[in-house]
């Protein structure tokens, strides 16, 4: 099937945009979750929405599945290709199409990196707020698909709160705009976070935010993780919404130190990075409060960034944390669970027990303000059985999150990695209802099949859809 399709793809795309060379195909065999791999049947590198629409229509004609891929930094296997399908890569769609500062928006192609948007408007005093740690590489199309967050989403929200419109190629191959401006169902809200299962975003209108007048970043070191946790609760309890509150435990600090020499205070059992931003007067008041709260929670050292360089130095350890654990462990799993902030302490204690029970180390890095944990489960893939035990620990951590009323993923998505956990969080009715949306968009189940949902819902007959105005509408005029 794919072979026949490939010939037809060459009719709608330039030759060099259709990749069939096995060596080149292999560069696309996984995303950031490298232990799921598959060589795509064929890869295409379109440059326009029309080309994507033509490819998708061919996929419909041949009943071949297709998968979108941005930069391939996803951590849940969302962009895992299909060997019987087409991988549609947006890396040639990297133009910022327009910027309108008066309207505070920019229109960009899906392959544009997250950071490139901010770079295009920074000098004018604006930025694009959601800031995943992968922002230098990840694409805005991928961000839309995953509803990506970042350290600053505690105050500013996620991708879904900053995207005003998406032009998409539907799984039927039509080009449609989903816009917050239009009346009707919030399909934009449903599309964002749908992980490539409802079509392919080809143009994205993002909201730009004004650069805050003041930013204060501080690092507070605690001897214990409980101390850090108390400080977080007290900050929130005081009615302060910092731009970010990030926490790292001793093992994560050790890794960051080994990797990037971040020079966090020696002997810290936990560090907290708190960033406040906004109007100068507001930040000053809140800063004084946060500092007092940290001292009351027994912070033994507090550093405040006096310059952009010092701010970068404080963030360096945190931002490098995922990669850094590579320095202290041959292999690791990045987990992404969420718990209500007030349950953080109990869940961390539970993770400690799991470490002991299975003899597996876990380094904890988290967005403490919103309870989004990124436990890094460390193992040695050279030691027989360790990988399996690490998998178990990783799964048990998700169970802990669910037991405490949380979620199996805060920002990395379900993808292939977590679809099997979905039934622990949702009932069959919940999942079937969600899939009604999928059936509306993609009754043939060709758009990134096998992701998000553990079992596809059979969509059945396409219901009769009434077109044109409602018969009564004319009478009422």
């Amino acid at each position: 099937m794919v072979d026949q399709l490939t010939g037809r793809l060459r009719e709608v795309l330039p030759d060099e945009a259709v990749i069939t060379d096995p060596v080149r195909l292999r560069t696309y065999e996984c995303d950031g979750l490298t232990y799921h791999r598959a060589t795509p049947g064929v890869v295409v590198l379109p440059e326009t929405a029309e080309q994507i629409a033509a490819v998708v229509r061919l996929c419909q004609e041949f009943q071949v599945p297709f998968v979108a891929r941005g930069s391939g930094t996803g951590l849940s296997g969302g962009a895992l290709p299909r060997s019987d399908g087409v991988l549609i890569v947006t890396s040639r769609m990297r133009r910022v199409l327009s910027v309108d500062l008066d309207a505070r928006l920019a229109v960009v192609e899906p392959g544009v990196t997250n950071l490139a948007i901010t770079e295009a408007v920074r000098d004018a005093g604006y930025y694009y707020a959601p800031d995943p740690s992968s922002q230098q590489i990840c694409s805005i199309g991928g961000n839309v698909a995953e509803n990506s967050g970042g350290a600053h989403c505690l105050k500013y929200g996620f991708t879904v709160n900053h995207v005003l419109a998406v032009e998409l190629v539907t799984p039927d191959g039509d080009i449609v705009d989903l816009s917050a401006m239009d009346a009707g169902y919030d399909l934009l809200g449903a599309f964002i976070g749908s992980e490539g299962t409802l079509g392919i975003a080809t143009k994205i209108t993002v909201r730009l935010s004004r650069t805050p007048e003041a930013v204060t970043t501080m690092l507070a070191a605690f001897t214990t993780i409980e101390g850090g946790g108390r400080a977080v609760s007290a900050i929130i309890g005081a009615g302060i919404v910092p731009a970010a509150i990030e926490m790292m435990d001793a093992l994560a600090i050790e890794a960051a130190e080994a990797a990037v020499k971040c020079e966090y205070p020696a002997g810290a059992g936990a560090v907290l990075v708190v960033e406040l931003d906004g109007p100068e007067t507001e930040v000053e008041t809140q800063f004084a409060q946060v500092e007092r709260i940290c001292r009351e929670a027994d912070a033994f050292e507090i550093r405040v960034a006096a310059s952009a360089e010092e701010r970068a130095a404080i963030w360096k350890g945190r931002k490098s944390a995922f990669a850094a654990v590579g320095r202290i462990s041959p292999a690791y799993i990045v987990q992404d669970g969420v718990v209500p902030r007030t349950a953080l302490g109990e869940v961390l204690a539970g993770i400690d027990r799991l470490q002991e029970e299975f003899g597996i180390r876990v380094a904890n890095v988290f967005h403490a303000g919103d309870g989004n944990l990124h436990p890094l489960v460390l193992f040695d893939d050279g030691v027989a059985g360790e990988g399996e035990r690490a998998e178990i620990v990783s799964g048990r951590i998700l169970d802990l999150c669910i037991e405490h009323g949380g979620s199996i993923t805060g920002e990395h998505g379900v993808g292939v990695d977590k679809s099997r956990y979905m039934p622990r969080m949702f009932t069959d009715e919940d999942l079937d209802t969600m899939q009604l949306v999928r059936c509306a968009f993609d009754p043939g189940n060709l758009s990134n099949p096998g992701k998000v949902f553990p079992t596809p819902r059979l969509c059945g007959e396409v219901p009769v859809v009434r077109k044109g105005p409602h018969p009564f509408e004319a009478e009422l005029l």
Partner: protein, 391 residues
């Protein structure tokens, strides 16, 4: 007989009267369920007996939108009015859909927290707010209802109970039905519970009010750009007045000093209380919502105010570009819609006659919306005809 089957659910049922009419269509029965399960039982009966259903909250906006094609059963959620779970430390609350926003915020105030949505219509319930997705002034800062809802429970036309989201602020597991149902006007199912992200109550609030001419485009852009971070920038104008009134709200510990620092001459008035028109919809036989990109606010305001007709009243956010305009009659609607759409915006007729202009304006994804409706409510029994494209 549907009546017997409805009675068997154990839910309080009463015959409907003229006061229960939905945009002029009188239902046969009104049901007063007290739980999600009771709503599901009612909807199963409705499915068996092919009854058309309209959910109602406070009933404040039942005359909004076009009338339903048919309405047999009104599901009144007024008895589903409890706060189910309130975790102040997590800034999260889970409520039943029939609770009013006023009651909810009274519940949250002792912990110095609020659901940061302004409700321009008093008596609005959480369900009604979500179904219509109405916003007030502070949308500029905190977003719309869809931005603050983090979990939802709905009952579908066949009685299926489904949940999505949860009670944590950050969560990307599965599709977001909360967003899909927000603004769905009761046409996809009945919203019975919702979970929201809360905000701390700001220690101080300060309003700044000033008069300006209708050429306020540059000023609007400048204010929205201001790093003093106003929470809202609202305009009020009515025919007969040469000037517009602008009011800005500042919130936070330093609200007063930021309010004093805004670059407007002559020195504007400041107050601890909002102007009387704040967070109120303008009054008139037909109420429109005008949405334009913030960069086109100046043009819109100039055009609306330069050709006033008696009884015109305009209110809304010069920062977000969302306005409400009350008009005495509908003659100019088609021309106004053309203008608004040419500016990249949309004109929606929220209530009152639309004079044949149509209520919703251009919708690119209408076909997809019809397909969603056909999947959720294949028999067209949930508020049929109340929404876009006759959905």
């Amino acid at each position: 007989m549907p009546q017997d089957a409805l009675a068997k659910t154990g839910v309080t049922i009463r015959p409907a009267d003229a006061g229960d009419a939905v945009a002029g269509v009188q239902p046969t029965w009104v049901a007063l369920p007290e739980s999600t399960e009771e709503v599901a039982a009612l909807l199963r009966v409705a499915a068996e007996h092919d009854l058309a259903v309209t959910p109602v909250g406070g009933g404040t906006k039942l005359d909004w939108g076009p009338p339903p094609e048919r309405c047999d059963l009104l599901v009144d959620l007024c008895c589903l009015n409890e706060v189910l779970e309130y975790a102040a430390g997590d800034l999260v609350v889970r409520v039943q859909a029939g609770i009013t926003l006023e009651a909810l915020n009274r519940h949250l105030a002792p912990q110095n927290q609020e659901l940061a949505l302004d409700i321009p219509v008093p008596g609005t319930t959480v369900g009604g707010l979500l179904a219509t997705a109405l916003c007030g002034p502070r949308r500029f800062r905190y977003g719309a209802p869809r931005d603050l809802i983090i979990g939802i429970t709905v009952v579908l036309a066949d009685g299926t109970i489904a949940r999505s989201g949860g009670k944590v602020v950050k969560n990307v597991a599965g599709y977001d039905l909360g967003k899909l149902f927000t603004g769905s006007y009761g046409t996809l199912g009945v919203i019975t519970e919702a979970t929201f992200r809360l905000h701390p109550l700001p220690p101080h609030r300060r309003w700044v009010t000033t008069k300006t001419g209708p050429d306020l485009g540059a000023l609007a852009v400048q204010l929205a750009r201001s790093q003093t971070e106003p929470s809202a920038i609202e305009l009020d104008w009515s025919s007969g007045s040469p000037d517009c009134t602008l009011a800005l709200l500042f919130e936070g510990a330093s609200a007063a000093s930021r309010a004093a620092a805004i670059p407007i001459t002559p020195q504007p008035e400041t107050s601890d209380d909002p102007p009387t028109w704040w967070n109120r919809l303008p009054d008139g036989p037909t109420l429109l919502e005008l949405r334009v990109p913030p960069g086109s606010v100046g043009t819109l305001v100039r055009e609306v105010t330069s050709a006033p007709m008696t009884g015109h009243a305009l209110r809304g956010s010069v920062a977000s570009g969302v306005f409400h305009l009350a008009v005495p009659d509908t003659r100019r609607l088609p021309a106004l819609r053309d203008r608004v759409e040419a500016l990249g915006g949309r004109l929606i007729v929220l209530s009152g006659p639309d004079g044949g202009a149509g209520r919703w304006g251009t919708i690119s994804a209408l076909d997809l919306m019809r397909r969603v409706k056909a999947r959720f409510d294949p028999d067209r029994r949930m508020s049929p005809g109340r929404f876009v494209g006759g959905i």
